[in-house]
């Protein structure tokens, strides 16, 4: 289970290092994780419902790098369809997984996630409202939607947590999930209502509840990357504070964490990141739940590793889910949320019973 920690220990000779080992990953581990993620990315670009031989894939990419992409259907498929889509999928997976890991730490609740708390449905509602009622920021056509998605995600999170604190100040696992489920149902019904009255403008309901990254562009990927660098950076820089929250909010206050400030900062960063993801790919459930869980089983709960490993793990997980969505019933395509929910629910039950047994 704690392979990584054992490896670290073998190299340590002095007593002080044994007592105070490095908590984050070394550069070697980062290189390994990047390599694996890049490998998955390559796999997902090479495979698709249209089979393109590896030699041709390499030829197209080397030509594209020289700035002379050939005008073949393979080149179009690789450069205009698969690569931007896979990049968007990877960035969305990384972002949602990071958000999930952060919320699970902040709330000391392994079931917390954008989808279980209903935050992503809140973001969907924000996006739908902005499209249906034409909320725009002049000059930036997409910013109105993204901004409203972020705002609604934040308000949802605020509402859910306020309610949860009112009902049960210890924020027990059950209470918060129950409120999340009720909130999700409420928001989904409002969402359906708005879509019914503005069906000519808004994407259909399955996009907002199941998610889809088909038709993603490089511009989408750039927006996702920007959001991940900015808000993901904020989350990653709060690893120690999240450790304290994961042990307990009282403990965080006791060791000197500015509880209010950190909570607000993490909530804003999480809402913003979820808002961007939802406005581009709809709400994709379970990614933020499953990826951090698997990572936690492998390397333990310390956020100094958990957060960065969740980034890579979430990216790889969602890319593989997307590959399944594209390949399983080719030439047909499944909504990606169908795959994540299906795989996620199964993995989730396995993980949950296992950890339950380990604790007992």
């Amino acid at each position: 289970m704690r392979l990584d920690r054992k490896i670290h220990r073998e190299g340590e000779t002095s007593l002080s290092l044994f007592l105070y080992p490095r908590e984050g990953f070394g550069p070697g581990t980062y290189a390994l994780m990047s390599l694996v993620t890049a490998g998955v990315l390559l796999l997902c670009v090479c495979l698709g419902s249209v089979s393109i031989p590896l030699r041709e894939v390499l030829a197209v990419f080397s030509a594209a790098l020289r700035g002379a992409a050939p005008a073949t259907s393979s080149a179009s498929i690789l450069l205009s369809v698969r690569l931007p889509r896979t990049l968007c999928v990877a960035l969305t997976g990384a972002s949602l997984s990071l958000c999930g890991a952060s919320m699970q730490g902040l709330l000391k609740n392994p079931l917390a996630d954008g989808s279980t708390l209903g935050v992503s449905y809140g973001a969907s509602l924000g996006a739908v409202v902005s499209i249906a009622f034409g909320v725009t920021i002049p000059g930036l056509p997409f910013a109105g939607t993204v901004g409203m998605a972020m705002l609604f995600a934040f308000l949802s999170l605020l509402l859910i947590l306020t309610l949860a604190y009112r009902l049960d100040s210890s924020l027990a696992t059950g209470t918060i999930i129950l409120i999340g489920v009720i909130f999700s149902m409420f928001v989904t019904s409002v969402l359906s209502l708005v879509i019914t009255f503005a069906s000519d403008k808004v994407r259909q309901i399955t996009f907002w509840t199941m998610g889809s990254l088909s038709g993603s562009s490089y511009a989408n990927a750039a927006l996702l990357l920007g959001a991940l660098l900015l808000f993901g950076g904020v989350l990653l820089s709060h690893a120690r504070e999240l450790n304290a929250f994961a042990i307990g909010e009282d403990n965080a206050r006791s060791v000197g964490v500015d509880v209010r400030r950190v909570k607000l900062t993490v909530m804003i960063a999480v809402s913003a990141l979820i808002g961007v993801c939802v406005s581009i790919g709809g709400s994709i459930a379970f990614v933020g739940l499953v990826a951090p869980h698997m990572v936690r089983l492998l390397i333990g709960p310390n956020h100094k590793r958990l957060l960065s490993a969740s980034l890579f793990g979430g990216a790889s997980f969602l890319m593989l889910c997307d590959l399944c969505a594209r390949l399983l019933f080719s030439p047909r395509e499944l909504p990606i949320g169908v795959v994540t929910s299906f795989l996620g629910a199964i993995l989730f039950v396995i993980i949950f019973t296992r950890t339950g047994r380990a604790r007992a």
Binding site: G48, V50, T72, S76, I77, L79, S80, R203, G215, E333
Partner: protein
């Protein structure tokens, strides 16, 4: 530009045609012999007997609504399903919920003699409840062109308008024969039907759809004839299959790029034969997706579109 104005002209003509059809109907009922019993077998095999041709009808499906109007029986229509929108004057008729949310209360309140419904919404309980309320239920279920002819004849008999029904089906058959001769494809050209645009996830019409049947009639190959029914497909499959023609049925709501412009602007699609030739037809009014008389118009529009494209390519 020229092409589009031709289509709008055609659309206006089609609209006028259906208007006059309905307009003519207003005088028709007086000529019908009254007091004559009618017996029909609907498309689920149920036998329905009426004392006299139906005079108050609620039609739940858009296709049945169109058939009624095409037979000149608009004035018998006392209620319509909420998605019935053609010809446009049916919008003045009270709408009821249809499909999965079919509302029996709303239907009964309209006091029709006959309810026309599709198989999608129909259940044994609903039929029994409506029959108890004194409403005769007739189910239409056209899966192909022959089914459409059957539905037209069925509705014609119900209304005591057998002659009009026969004329309508004859007319359709004649149009189909015309377009078949006009295009006379040899199966080498392919057409991709786009039912839902990229933004919403690409959906196409595969085998067993009216679009597929009409493509076959014209001698074109449906690019997705390996798929059954309507389905979501991968974008890269469209690029791989490189269709010669694209027919999209997306609606245009008057803002942003038109469906045709949107397809032309898609990244990676610029190398498609259909995009290079700008061979994209936008059928905005469900001409090819409803089992009704306008399938003939849709086929005619496709034939004209292909003829124009061929002329352009030859030049």
């Amino acid at each position: 530009m020229k092409k589009r104005s031709l289509f709008s002209l055609l659309l206006v003509l089609a609209l006028l045609a259906s208007l006059t059809a309905c307009g003519a109907a207003t005088q028709a009922p007086a000529a019908e012999p009254a007091g004559e019993g009618v017996t029909v077998t609907d498309m689920t095999g149920r036998e329905i007997t009426l004392d006299k041709p139906a005079e108050r009808i609620v039609a739940l499906t858009a296709a049945d609504c169109e058939i009624l109007c095409a037979l000149g029986a608009f004035d018998t229509l006392v209620g319509r399903g909420e998605y019935c929108d053609w010809p446009s004057e049916v919008l003045s008729v009270p709408a009821v919920q249809s499909g999965a949310e079919t509302s029996l209360e709303q239907i009964i309140a309209l006091e029709p003699d006959v309810l026309l419904m599709g198989t999608m919404a129909q259940t044994a309980e609903q039929v029994a409840a409506l029959e108890d309320a004194g409403i005769r239920v007739v189910v239409s279920d056209a899966q192909d062109l022959e089914g459409v002819y059957t539905a037209i004849e069925l509705i014609g008999r119900l209304m005591g308008k057998d002659a009009q029904a026969e004329a309508l089906t004859e007319n359709m058959r004649a149009t189909f024969a015309d377009v078949q001769a006009q295009v006379a494809g040899d199966g080498s050209e392919s057409v991709y039907f786009e039912v839902s645009p990229l933004e919403w996830g690409l959906w196409t019409a595969g085998k067993g759809t009216f679009m597929d049947e009409i493509a076959g009639m014209l001698g074109l190959r449906n690019a997705f004839d390996d798929i059954d029914g309507w389905a979501e497909i991968s974008e890269e499959q469209v690029l791989e299959r490189d269709p010669d023609y694209i027919v999209t049925i997306s609606m245009y709501y008057g803002e942003g790029p038109t469906p045709t412009e949107e397809i032309l602007s898609r990244a990676g699609w610029e190398n498609l034969t259909a995009v290079k030739n700008q061979a994209i037809l936008n059928l905005q009014n469900n001409e090819l997706s409803r089992p009704g008389p306008r399938l003939a118009e849709g086929a005619q529009m496709m034939a004209d579109f292909i003829a124009a494209e061929r002329l352009e390519n030859a030049a």
